[in-house]
Symmetry: C2
Subunit: 520 residues, 2 copies
Amino acid sequence: MRRALETSRSQNFAEWYQEVVRRSDMAETSAVRGCMVIKPWGYGIWELIQQQLDQRFKETGHENCYFPLFIPLDFIAKEAEHVEGFAKEMAVVTHHRLKAIDGELVPDPDAKLTEPLIVRPTSETIIADSFRNWISSYRDLPVLVNQWANVVRWEMRTRLFLRTAEFLWQEGHTAHIDREDAIEETMRMLEVYREFAETVMAMPVIAGEKTENERFPGADNTYSIEAMMQDGKALQAGTSHYLGTHFAQAQDIKYQAADGTEKYAHTTSWGVSTRLIGGLIMTHGDDDGLRVPPALAPHQIVILPRLRGEEGDAKVLDYCRQLRSELVVQSALGARLRVNVDSKDRGASNKRWDWVRRGAPILLEIGPREIENGQVSYLRRDVLYEGEKIKSTAVNHADFVGLAASLLEEIQKNLYDEAKTRLQSRIKIGIDSMAALSGYFGEADSEDEEGVSTSGASDLGWARVAWCKPTGKKLEEVEAMLAPLKLTIRNVPLDQPTAFGKCIFTGEPAVEEIFIARAY
Amino acid sequence: MRRALETSRSQNFAEWYQEVVRRSDMAETSAVRGCMVIKPWGYGIWELIQQQLDQRFKETGHENCYFPLFIPLDFIAKEAEHVEGFAKEMAVVTHHRLKAIDGELVPDPDAKLTEPLIVRPTSETIIADSFRNWISSYRDLPVLVNQWANVVRWEMRTRLFLRTAEFLWQEGHTAHIDREDAIEETMRMLEVYREFAETVMAMPVIAGEKTENERFPGADNTYSIEAMMQDGKALQAGTSHYLGTHFAQAQDIKYQAADGTEKYAHTTSWGVSTRLIGGLIMTHGDDDGLRVPPALAPHQIVILPRLRGEEGDAKVLDYCRQLRSELVVQSALGARLRVNVDSKDRGASNKRWDWVRRGAPILLEIGPREIENGQVSYLRRDVLYEGEKIKSTAVNHADFVGLAASLLEEIQKNLYDEAKTRLQSRIKIGIDSMAALSGYFGEADSEDEEGVSTSGASDLGWARVAWCKPTGKKLEEVEAMLAPLKLTIRNVPLDQPTAFGKCIFTGEPAVEEIFIARAY
């Protein structure tokens, strides 16, 4: 059976991923190493991610700001763990002018900066500098801000959306009177991410805490949401950090408490990025391309007029535009329907397959026959086939208009249910030793240089096991046992049982359960 | 009479501007030279500018994309005029890693880039590189994209919003089959800017073409909208460029025409930036701070409960929140009302003056007396005084709810009318010689190092004069005559009479009218 992509997920998951990105017209590599061009269909999805997250941030009391792209070198140097974590992969600006020397354009030696500037890899340090100025009394707290920005982390191995030198993200930054209030914020935003991922992206996730070795550089606690991709690997899709007073001490963010004493503020930060789009692809894509959940589809319904380059075409186009105007006043998933009439001068079959690959949730095909019968024919992208044939359903024009919103909501739910079933069916429980773990995961998959498996999507998933929560050197020993299998500890899920068995690494009594998986 | 700012416009316009920015809590300088921090009130205005422009871009057929922050050095070098225009003020990335050497963090000498990267000052060159890949046939045209992004132009003299090293903007980039189609796009977007400035920003502007020496580096034609600030100076508030085939030739953007021949695409670009917020301040600010037009106010109505730290407070707060819920379901200026209850723990008078300085269009003050009478008391920021006293109007609760939307629309119109009257009254016509021009403008104002006049707002404005449209060396001679007076040619307005007198510079027959003014 012929599919719309050349590579199937089961043949080669990594190549399949690249083909989806390219043929769904979402993004492409640029002339600048590691930087991508996000094309209209990909950027349209990102805009809908932004809008729906931004609404949630505002509803939880946050306001947007904008902080400088550049960070002075000594800001980075101030927080020791932060330096360690980021210093190795940053773009450094050293000059502020070019000059033609011997006919060649070069950085002007007379325009060297006294102190180099770093292109922000994240903004804790520069935002802490503002917080110091904004905060003097307990009355100024909490400070709750967010910014939508581009950040740069030099990456030698890049993959569109998943790992690029420049990416787009949001970073929330907050300051609080004490640990309790800051932890409450940290957990609130983790929950915002979980709810957003599941409701809007139709991507089920596990929320939990990262181990001490996987914390953000400079954090006391790091929490994540982890999603399971179709090859069974985990994708860290969002993080929320309680930063304690590390950045407050480094940048001197103090306030006068109600009792008159001077205290350090407790800060948090939390972020998600364009990496989410990579997660979307590997959660919902199939062998025909992407399937975009309706809540994130720039066009939820694409109307394809069957044009023949003859005078009947005008009537077909009119019918399509009329249909569009009836649909756009309907609402689904909390917003007006987004409907596009694709009247481009291209063959009907090419257009159909382009939109299948892009993953528009519903395609309507309208030709003279439909108009004559007062009908529309539609394809649902989530269930494209009936047996080996494309399933096209003909319904009355008016019935479709009445049905469209609930159809979109059904597709949204269907995509979520499918992903949820996969996640649940691939969580392996009952593993009680390192040997059993090793037996379950077997040999590490082969991978391409960007760390994406080049073998087909496996049926493996994640193991949920009990452990004794070792720290320091003992934790490193555990990581060293997992490394040859390319396994990592994903997180300690918030949802824990009341009793535990034995630690699979040491045999000691366990204190909590963790997820172990291969990961992006 | 005491006002909410320390400096009045008539005392010192430059200092007044700085005080407005600072005390309206819109932005502040950062630790990075030339880069600003945009605070929630300033960023909230920018978000509303973005939303309302973005809607207009989409309605005119454009889609958003995202292109790399970095531009390879040789891209800049390819288009000769473009280099000349931008090479002198760019941030240059030369290293991709830091290293601790002798305890000091420095750019790692082993991580020097083979080719330096430029932080984009504008994106024509890198976008042209994508256009080359996207365009092969006339069927692919037009390409109509836009991006919202940060750009960097190294500035030694900075002023918040007006001139900063990093600023936020949008840049539209389009490619067309021929000159006619590209010019049509150029003019369409100029008109979008004009309509947006006047309708949304309540800022009347003059749309026209820049002279050949004021064109964008690499453009065939540059058009601008120019707004008159309260000190009589002009602010270039937006530009739209027809780029001819310059960038198409430099980056080889060719297409196969319907007749089978190969042709260069014609491109355009157009942009506005956070500079608009500087224009907003200098158009609508007064001696009490900013006055934000309702269409751009993050909070259009701010409700100030008079709290006394006693048990009656809960009742006052409930009343305010109830009032808010009745107001937010109303619509004005095409959107739901934006209403804030400021329940912060601060004195009522401080809060009133904070919101006056920020320029919220309507302030509602609610205390036990208003509740008892079933009333609200409101202040209109556009007409704050009656004689020397603050004008507070008491109306029935229900009447205010019914009135609020039309009140906001009236304020929007009132701010526009005020600015329009000023613009019209300060356009000097009838000047027929260079001597008369010199006599009208007199001595150049004193200015601070950022080029903002330090004298008070003058009653001078712009001169509309006729000229013979000299080019080349003759145009330079005209500019040299204007330079000592700090005058520049702003633009050639689209709206022209049918007959002209003599050129004020040469005495020859004139062919068009131009605006001459001092400018930011």
